[in-house]
């Protein structure tokens, strides 16, 4: 019904569905910003070895729980420079409190440079290099943008590396859930009757199995020869096979309401097959909700990863993911003495927010009824 016409001169009125969406989307400023932010995050994740100033495993007893290094723009002589620099850091253990105490050594000055030589790495396991986006030259100065953790490892680098895992881990699962949910929920809601009943029973059954024990059981049942990453991936897939039920239920509800709508009847009268009716007509009218759910699911996956790692059921050290970083920061010592360790939470929040705004924008853009 909303087919394309060939008369280009009619512009807006003949633009295709997708063109309309893109145009409307671009008017939603916040959504556009979110899209940009997400693209940046994914780029960082893709090139994490290059972006991170240090190797995430690089530790040192000297810098245990070092606070974020202060960037200075004005030299001790009072000269302002666009290139920030940091001072050297000395440390010693206070034998009374057993804490490592830091002292800034202003005699050592380290300017921050772009494209510096640092820890060697292999980009994507293929190309060797040791050039990092930014950092300080040499071995003595340390740039802890977000401070250091309990082994003296640079938190910022670890967050950057963690992005790679956290941002990718949920995508497949979400996609699977989506496909299953829409198809099965749609069939169930549209056809009703026996098909509906069977699918409903299955859904009910799957949904009544609570997540945490299921997770634990699955974690135990999988072959233990696999690496933690592979295990987690497998579990995510398995869980999504159960997770589709949520979406399916809602889709079904909507379909059951919508199938009585006029345009559906009209399509049938035109001779459209059932499948075509579902895919071509019902789904687009449901698209906005679908998109809202999709963009809500991805951050849901990210948050699940953090929650499950907190319980000790998801990823665990030595794997580096945002969930793992938060889990090791989840204690009073961090909150009181080293609060910068909670910054991975900021990364999570930003990404989740961005996804939400993006989804919002896409939903608004896809809404066929808005003018």
């Amino acid at each position: 019904m909303f087919g394309k016409t060939k008369n280009k001169s009619e512009g807006l009125f003949t633009a295709s569905q997708w063109q309309l969406m893109t145009w409307r989307f671009s008017r939603h400023r916040v959504a556009v910003v979110s899209l940009v932010v997400l693209v940046i995050f994914y780029l960082i994740a893709a090139f994490c070895e290059f972006v991170a100033p240090y190797d995430p495993g690089r530790y040192s007893a000297k810098y245990v729980l070092a606070p974020p290094t202060t960037l200075h723009f004005v030299s001790p002589e009072g000269k302002f420079s666009l290139r920030p620099y940091v001072f050297g850091l000395e440390s010693a253990r206070d034998m009374e409190t057993l804490a490592v105490v830091f002292e800034v050594d202003e005699s050592q000055v380290y300017p921050i440079k772009f494209l510096v030589h640092g820890d060697p790495y292999k980009l994507w396991g293929l190309w060797e290099s040791d050039i990092h986006l930014f950092g300080v030259d040499g071995e003595d100065g340390m740039l802890f943008l977000w401070g250091a953790d309990s082994m003296g490892r640079d938190l910022f680098s670890r967050v950057v590396f963690g992005a790679r895992i956290s941002l990718s881990i949920g995508l497949v699962g979400v996609f699977l859930s989506l496909v299953l949910g829409v198809i099965l929920g749609g069939i169930s809601g549209y056809f009703g009757g026996a098909v509906d009943v069977v699918i409903q029973r299955v859904i009910e059954f799957l949904r009544s199995l609570p997540a945490i024990p299921l997770w634990m059981t699955l974690a135990a049942a999988l072959p233990h020869g696999w690496s933690p990453m592979r295990l987690y991936f497998a579990i995510t897939v398995l869980l999504s096979l159960i997770g589709w039920t949520g979406l399916a239920r809602v889709v079904r509800g909507r379909f059951m309401s919508l199938r009585e709508e006029d345009f559906v009847m009209a399509a049938r009268l035109c001779g459209a097959s059932e499948m075509r009716v579902i895919l071509r007509h019902l789904v687009p009218s449901f698209l906005s909700h679908l998109i809202a759910s999709l963009t809500l699911s991805i951050p849901g996956m990210i948050l699940s990863e953090t929650s499950l790692s907190f319980l000790g059921l998801g990823l665990q050290p030595p794997v580096v993911s945002w969930g793992v970083l938060l889990q090791t920061a989840q204690n009073l010592r961090t909150v009181v003495l080293a609060p910068w360790l909670l910054l991975p939470g900021l990364a999570v929040v930003i990404v989740v927010l961005a996804f939400n705004f993006l989804g919002d924008g896409m939903r608004d853009a896809a809404d066929p009824y808005s003018h």
Binding site: Y59, A61, V64, M95, Q316, P317, L332, R333, L337
Partner: protein, 684 residues
């Protein structure tokens, strides 16, 4: 960190301590072993002279409480709350409650005042708390402070026959259960015939009480004397006495026993069980499982009640048979409480806010700065207390690995030496233990009577070149990229390193070790695992490297239970065999199953067996002990990183006569029990 010499340890009551082996401390009698309780130590009158490990203030010279030699007081006094009950007629007067010769204890600091409550926190409603649950118990005997003697506690004394096959035990006349009934040999007989020998309650008698394969016999002489008889000469029985509680309150428990009450099965059913012995065990249970507040006990504080949050309340035992040198009946504190939270951080927060009177078990060194920061607000003092654990982190290679190539490699002493030399223990010490530990192999602590200087320092130097040399010597060549070494049969030398991941520093140290071994060309894959799964893998001989915290390594522990750290599989075989599982099989089945171990292991096994049969303190005992340690040290089957790490402990400033920083606090010595909690008192 200052290395504690054995002499210093022994002289300073710091390390010296009781063998209160929790070997059945408060173990629920769901187990076939008799209801046992932790033994406590008496004290040595020596001052605590331990040089501070990293503690800021030098520890004051204080003595651990002593048992008085001569009774001092003439009259007895009791706590006000009990005096009230006597006045109202609910309790008999104090003279009738105490035994004819109560034990007299000289308090650590000063004579205390009655009142108050000792309170421990626990981050798991179903777990046990050394700060509260363990404080209550008492046992037949306990170890003296210098480890040389076993001192009678509940009983008055004993005599071991010349052939060491019979032990005559004299009980204290007039000692009563917490409900007022006398403790006599009737209770001993009941325990022996109706629980120990009863196959429903005790399906299998522990080896400890069945030397020579036959369960020991108990013969009753009169109301206050009984004998233990063994099939073979058994001098080690003396060392086992602190874990023995051969009595059960017949006047109360017989109602649940089918032999004395034909309705016992019905009673069981009405309580939700199927059989009488289930209900019997339920009522007999102790420790944090005790549910029956009516069951009589001999504890310092008896169980009163609990709520569904995991909080438990104990109240003083009006019949407790210990007094101080002025005749005041102990304990001073009226109550012991155990408050539970759902997780560790809430518990930590409560500790910081000043909740609880003493903490240690659940504290960690990492949080020390936090504890220190809040000292004023919480009105407590936090300090470092020496511990006797041989190593915080020790591991074995699986010497009976299914893969024959790996088996050959692991059994080569050069391999073990190399892997040990490749570890930077100072760095581990700094990163994981605040630099407070001592780099050492997991051999006994210096307080052992046959300890030799330097026995814990074999192959301990951090020397990557030496490690590489040894590996080259073994013929393990590098691959084409000079990155990893190759196995003799070609593939890359890659080891799977499984470990139980719940303890933060296990993960950390494992990561560090992976890094160190990478430098000598050994590739390690870290696999954090669930504890149960890990144990199962070990039991099934499927693991490559077995990692654990190496406690239970002291002389006392080894005598009272089993020298688990000094013979295969270097841990409890039933649960977590670290290495050489199949050797252990071979040795315990006399060659029928398992794999035959090398000569050194066979020799070690025989030496340990002989050591266990030798009475404590003889020259032969010392000689065998030295041999045992030497063989283990030279062969390095169990490799360690850092040991003797002091523990952090907090004691509130209102609690008196309690241990101070610098004094030893260790599981090997029964934790707080060594300091006689009955003589702690609370200043209002």
């Amino acid at each position: 960190m200052a290395k504690l010499s054995r002499r210093e340890f022994l002289i300073g009551a710091g390390g010296v301590a009781a063998g209160s082996l929790l070997a059945a401390c408060g173990q629920p009698t769901a187990a076939p072993s008799p209801t046992q309780a932790p033994a406590q130590a008496t004290s040595a009158p020596e001052p605590t002279d331990v040089p501070p490990t990293a503690a800021p203030e030098a520890a004051e010279a204080t003595a651990v409480p002593t048992v008085a030699e001569e009774p001092v007081a003439t009259g007895y006094t009791e706590a006000p709350m009990l005096a009230e009950l006597v006045a109202s007629g609910e309790l008999p007067p104090i003279e009738e409650r105490l035994p004819v010769e109560p034990i007299m204890v000289e308090p650590l600091g000063e004579i205390g005042q009655y009142g108050g409550s000792l309170r421990g926190l626990v981050p798991d409603p179903t777990g046990e708390s050394p700060e509260s649950d363990w404080l209550r118990g008492t046992a037949l005997a306990m170890r003296s402070a210098d480890l040389a003697d076993i001192i009678p506690w509940v009983v008055k004394g004993w005599d071991l026959s010349d052939d060491q096959k019979e032990l005559v035990v004299h009980m204290r006349e007039g000692l009563r259960w917490s409900d007022g009934e006398l403790l006599t040999t009737e209770d001993v007989q009941f325990w022996y015939e109706d629980t120990f020998l009863n196959t429903d309650l005790t399906p299998q008698v522990p080896i400890k009480w069945a030397p020579g394969g036959e369960p020991m016999k108990v013969v009753i002489d009169d109301d206050y004397t009984f004998r233990l008889q063994f099939a073979v000469s058994n001098p080690i029985i003396i060392d086992h006495l602190p874990t023995l509680n051969p009595w059960s309150p017949k006047h109360y428990m017989s109602q649940f026993h089918i032999k004395y009450n034909e309705d016992a099965n019905e009673i069981a059913k009405s309580e939700g069980f199927e059989f009488w012995y289930e209900s019997f065990q339920f009522h007999a249970q102790g420790a944090q499982f005790q549910q029956d507040a009516d069951r009589p006990a001999l504890d310092r504080w008896i169980y009163e009640r609990q709520d569904n949050m995991g909080n438990r309340y104990y109240v003083r035992n009006p019949y407790y048979w210990v007094v101080d040198v002025e005749g005041k009946q102990l304990p001073y504190a009226d109550y012991v409480e155990r408050m539970s939270t759902e997780n560790l951080e809430v518990m930590n927060a409560k500790v910081l806010s000043g909740d609880g009177t003493h903490h240690s078990w659940f504290l960690s060194l990492e949080n020390y700065p936090l504890y220190k920061q809040n000292e004023a607000e919480g009105n407590y003092t936090v300090g470092l207390y020496p511990d006797l654990r041989a190593a915080e982190y020790g591991f074995c290679f699986n010497y009976t690995h299914k893969d024959p190539v790996l088996r050959e490699i692991f059994n080569d002493i050069r391999w073990r030496k190399a892997m040990s030399h490749a570890i930077d223990r100072d760095e581990i010490n700094e990163l994981s233990f605040a630099g407070l530990g001592m780099p050492r192999q997991p051999i006994m602590d210096p307080t052992a009577s046959f300890y030799e200087e330097g026995i814990d320092q074999y192959f301990i130097e951090f020397d990557v070149d030496l490690a590489n040399e040894l590996l080259d010597d073994m013929g393990l060549e590098w691959d084409a990229n000079q990155q990893w070494r190759l196995r003799p049969d070609g593939g890359p030398l890659s080891l799977s390193f499984e470990f139980w991941s719940s303890k933060a520093n296990v993960t950390q140290v494992s990561e560090l070790i992976k890094g160190y071994w990478a430098k000598v060309g050994v590739d390690v894959t870290l696999k954090p695992e669930d504890q149960q799964f890990y144990q199962q893998r070990m039991q099934a001989n499927e693991h490559t490297i077995g990692v654990w915290a190496i406690g239970g390594s002291s002389e006392t522990y080894s005598r009272q239970n089993e020298p688990i750290r000094y013979r295969p599989p270097w841990h409890w075989p039933a649960n977590s065999p670290l290495g050489g599982t199949e050797w252990h099989q071979w040795l315990t089945t006399n060659g029928e199953q398992g794999i035959e171990p090398p000569e050194e292991i066979k020799e070690l096994w025989d030496i340990v067996a002989e050591w266990l049969l030798e009475p404590f303190g003889t020259d032969r005992y010392l000689e065998l002990g030295r041999e045992m340690l030497r063989i283990n040290a030279e062969n390095l089957w169990l490799i360690g990183t850092v040991g003797l790490v002091p523990r952090a402990a907090i004691v509130k400033n209102t609690v008196r006569n309690a241990p101070q920083p610098g004094q030893a606090l260790s599981v090997e010595t029964g934790m707080w029990n060594y300091y006689q909690p009955e003589q702690w008192w609370i200043e209002e």
